[in-house]
Amino acid sequence: MIAPFHFAGEALQLEPAGVLLWPAMRVMVVADLHLEKGSAAARKGQLVPPWDSRVTLERLGLLVRRYAPRTVVALGDSFHDDHGPARLLAADAASLRRMTDSVDFVWVRGNHDRAPPEGVGGRAVESWAAGPLSFRHQAVAGVAGELSGHFHPKARVATRAGQVVRPCFMTDARKIMLPAFGAYTGGLDVRAPAIAAHFPRGGRVFLLGQQRLFSFSLGQTSRPGASREACLRTSREACLRTTPLDPVVRSTHPREGA
C-alpha cells in the first residue's frame, strides 16, 4: 500500500519497497542500489554469495513494470565501486540494459561510484532537478525540496515485544531521505548525528513493511540500543517490580535489587 505524501506542493507517494513515486511527472526515485557489492567483498577475500545484483535488479524491475515510470532516478551509489559495471554478470547486465532502454534512466553520481557507469545505458548526472524538487546523492544542509540517499536511514521502534528495526524514509517539510535499496546495504540509525543534523526540528519516519509503511515521528523512535528490554537499565528484579502484576504477587514480591 502506497503512502501519499505532500511535499513542496507536489503529491508524492512513498512505496513500501523503498522507492518514491512522483505520479504527476511519472518519476520513480530509488537510492543506493550498491550493485556488485558482493563481488567487491569477494575481491577483498570474502566470497559472499554473488546474487546481490540479481536480487536488487529483480526487485527494481518489478517496480518499474508495476508503476511504468517515464523516468527512473537512481540517487547515487548505484554501483558499489567504479569497477562494478564491468563485474556485472552477463545476465544481470542484460536485464539492467533492458530497464535503462525502456525508461529515461538517470544515474546521479554518488561517493562510491564517482565515474559515470559505462555500458549500462541511461545518462549520468551530478544531480538532477525537476519542478520545485532537487535530487542528489547526499543532502546539503538547509536546502529545501530535496530528495537524497547516501545515509541508508533505518529506525527502531519499541513495541510490546521488543524493538523492531527497519530501513525507513526520513522526512520533514524540506527534505526526504530515501532508504537504501540494494540487497547488501545495511543502515544508519536516523538518530545518528549525521542524519539528525539535516532534520534539526525533528521529522517523520516511514518504516518499510511487507505490505505498507509504518509512520512515526522521530521522537517516537528509540535511540539505538536504548534497551534490550527496559530491564537492561537496572536489574531484572527492579524491572519486574514496575510490571503490572497480580496484587497477590506484588504484595509478596520481595524487596530485591535495591
Binding site: 554473488p50 521488543g162 520533514d172 517539510a173 526540528r201 521529522g203 517523520r204 509512520s215 531484572r236
Partner: protein, 800 residues
Amino acid sequence: MLAAARAGEHVLLIAPTGGGKTLAGFLPSLVDLAGGPRTTAGLHTLYVSPLKALATDIARNLTAPVAEMGLNIRIETRTGDTSSDARKKQRETPPDLLLTTPESFALLLSQPEAPSMFGGLHAVIVDEVHALAGTKRGDQLALCLARAAKWAPRARRVGLSATVAHRAALRAFIGCGDAARLIEVDEGAAPQITMMLPEERIAWAGRMGLASASAVMKRIRGAGMTIVFVNTRAQAELLFQELWRLNEDTLPIALHHGSLDLAQRKRVEAAMAAGALRAVVATSSLDLGIDWGGVDQVIQVGAPKGTARLLQRVGRANHRMDEPSVAVLVPANRFEVLECEAAISGVAAHELDGDAPGAGGLDVLAQHVLLMAASAAFLPDEMFAEVRRAAPYAGLARQDFDDVLRFVEDGGYALSQYERWRKLFRDAEGRVHVANARVARQARMNLGTIVEQPLLKVRLAGRGGAALGEVEEYFANGLRAGDTFMFAGRLLKFLRIHETTLECADGGTGTPAVPAYGGTRMSLTTNLAARVRAILHDPGRWGQLPDQVREWLQMQQERSELPGPDGLLVEIFPREGRWYLVAYGFEGRNAHQTLGMPLTRRMERFRYAPLGFVATEYVLGVWSAEEPQDIAGLFHHDLLGEDLDVWMADTSMLRRTFRNVAVISGLVDRHYPGAEKNRRQVTVNTDLIYNVLKKHQPDHVLLRATWRDARGGLTDLGRLGALLDRARGRVTVRRLDRVSPLAVPVLLDIGRESVRTEADEDSLLEETELLVREATGGPGGQGGTPHPPRLSAPRRAIAR
C-alpha cells in the same frame, strides 16, 4: 600412566578435580626427558588447555621443580599473549615442553614449518577434555589432533577429564582414530551441599538472587575463602555491588568474569593464589582451571542448571581428596528452589548429565581446511581420510567434505563467478594449494571458533587510563554522555565512544545500566528437569522443602494440579480480557521457545487469535483473544512438520546461527588489515547474505551447517520432540477461573524477548503505530505529513 606411556598407548584419565591429574599427565614426559639427551630435536610434549591462564599457571608450577631437580628441560607457553619475538624463536628452536590453547595449536599447525616442528613430538596432553568435546573449539582441536598425528604418527595422546557422563565419546576424541585406554581414579569424599534461602520471602520470579546478598555476606564472613558462582556476567556485577554495599568490614571481595580486562582478571587470580582474598564473585570464567587450594566453600547463586556443571563448580572448593567440598546453593526464585533440591539429590545419586558431543561443525571444518592449506598443499583424498580420524568428523560424508572444500575454494556457489578471487587452487597432480600469501595471512588472522558480538573496549578516560574490559557495542550505543553504568565492579560515568573504545570516568550517579551480553544460555538439563518433575509429583518429598514453597505447591494442588512425571499438564485461564495457556513442558527454554511459534500458528488456524508467548526453563505460556478449545489437537505430534521448517528459516534464531557459521567458516572476516576503524564498510551484514543465499541456493553447504547447528542448539528440536511424544494421548487440561500458583512465575516473565519473523514484526509495528496515534490524537508530528498512510484493517498482533 607410566605403564601406558611405555606401551605407547593413548590414555583418557578421568579424575575428580584436585586429584593431581595434570601432573600425572606430564609425568611420563618428565621421566623421558630426565632420562638423558634426546635423539630427536624439536618439540617433545605439547600441552593444550582451554584456558590461557591454566597454561601459564602450569608452566610456572612445572618450571620451579624442574629447575630444583637440575633438569635441563625448556618449558614455555604459547598463547595469544606471547610476543612475536618469542613466537619466532619458538618456531626456530622449539622448547621441550610447550603449553598452549587450541587456537594457538591450530595457528602453529597452519605454519609452513609445522611438519618439522611437530615431527619429533612424543606426546600431546589435552587438559579439561570434557569442557572442549562437543563445542566448536573441541571440533577444531580434534581436527588439530588428527593433523598432528599426520606429522608425528607415534606421538601419544593423553586426555585429562573431570568425571563425565559420556566416557566413550571422550575416549574416541583422544583416540582420534586409534584406541585409547581409560584410566579412572576414584572420586574423593562426597561433597556436602546445602541450600540457603533468603531471609525474607522467596521470590516468584527473577534470576539474580540479590535478596540473598546479606545471607551470602554472612557466609563469606564465616569462612576463610569463598567463591560465589553466578550464571551471567550481569548477575556477577549486580551481586558484587550488593555485597559491597553490605560489606561493612570491607573484606577483600573481588569480581571475575570473561569480559573483564585480562590484566584485571590476572590480578584477581594472583590475589586468590596468594590467599589475599576472602571472596570472589565469578561466572564460568572460574569453572575450570588452576587449583587454588585454599577455597573453603563455594556458593552458587541462581539455578544450578545441571548436576555435572554443579559438581564441577563445587569441586573448586577444598581441593583435597580426603575432605569433602562444601557448597551452598542459593535459589533466586521458587522454581529454582525445586531445581536446587533436585540438583542436590542428583549429586547424591552420582548422576551425571549433559548432552553427548554431536557431529563436528562444517564451518569449523572449512576454517581448518584453509588453515592447513596455508601450511602445506594436500590431496583431497588424503585430507578427507585425515579429517575422518577426528572423532567429531568420524561420520563425515564425502559429499559434505567436497562441498566444504569447494566453499573454501571459490564460495561454492551454483553461479560461479569468483574464479578470479579463489582462495585455493589445484595443481596438475590435484594437490590443493592456498592461492597466495594474503589469503593465508587473512585466514590466520581470523582463526578461532568463538564468535562474539561486536565489542568495545572500556577504558577510563585520560592519558594512560586503565583498561577495564569489554562491553557489546549494542549496549554502548544506548548510553548518552553522563549516563551511569555498572562494570568491572565500579559505577562509571559514560563519556564518549572513540573508534572502538568506550571512554568513561569513575563516579557515576543515579540508576545504573548493567551491560548484558549475548551468547548461548545453558539450558536446564533433561535429567535435572526429570528430577524436578519427580519432586513436584511426590508430596512425600515436600517435607524437605521450605514452608513457602511447600505451601505454594499445596495451593497449586488445591486450585489446579501438579504436573506429573509423564504426560503434559496444560492450564487455561482468563485474565484481564485475555486467555492464557500454560504448558508445563520442563524441556528447557530453547525447546519451549521453539514450540511457541508452531503452536501459535496452529492456534491461529483454530481461530483462537493468539497474541504472544513467553518461554521459561519450565513452561511455555501463550496468550490469546479467544479461549483455546481443542488442546489435544494443538499439541498433536505432527506439530514438528514442514510448517516448522518454513517458519524457522525466517526466524531471528536461524539468522543468529548463520552469523556464527559465516564468521567461523571464513565467509566474512572478523579482522581485516587496518579495517578496525570502519568495519561496517568491509563486512556485509550476514542477515542480508542469509536472505540472498536462502533465496538462490537453499542447499548451500553453509545453510546446511546452519540448520545442523540450529537443530541442536538454539532450537533444541530433540527435546521438543521428546515433549510432544510424552504428550501423545496424555494431555491433561485444567480450565481455571484465574491464574494458578505455579503459573505466576511465567506471567512475570512476559515482556522478554521472543523469537519472531518479519511478518510478526509488521504486526507489532502496526499495533504500536495505532497505539501511538490513539495516544497522541492523530498523526501530528512536525514532519509536514498532512496525509498519513491509510490504515489497513488492524490485523492480529504478534503471531502469524
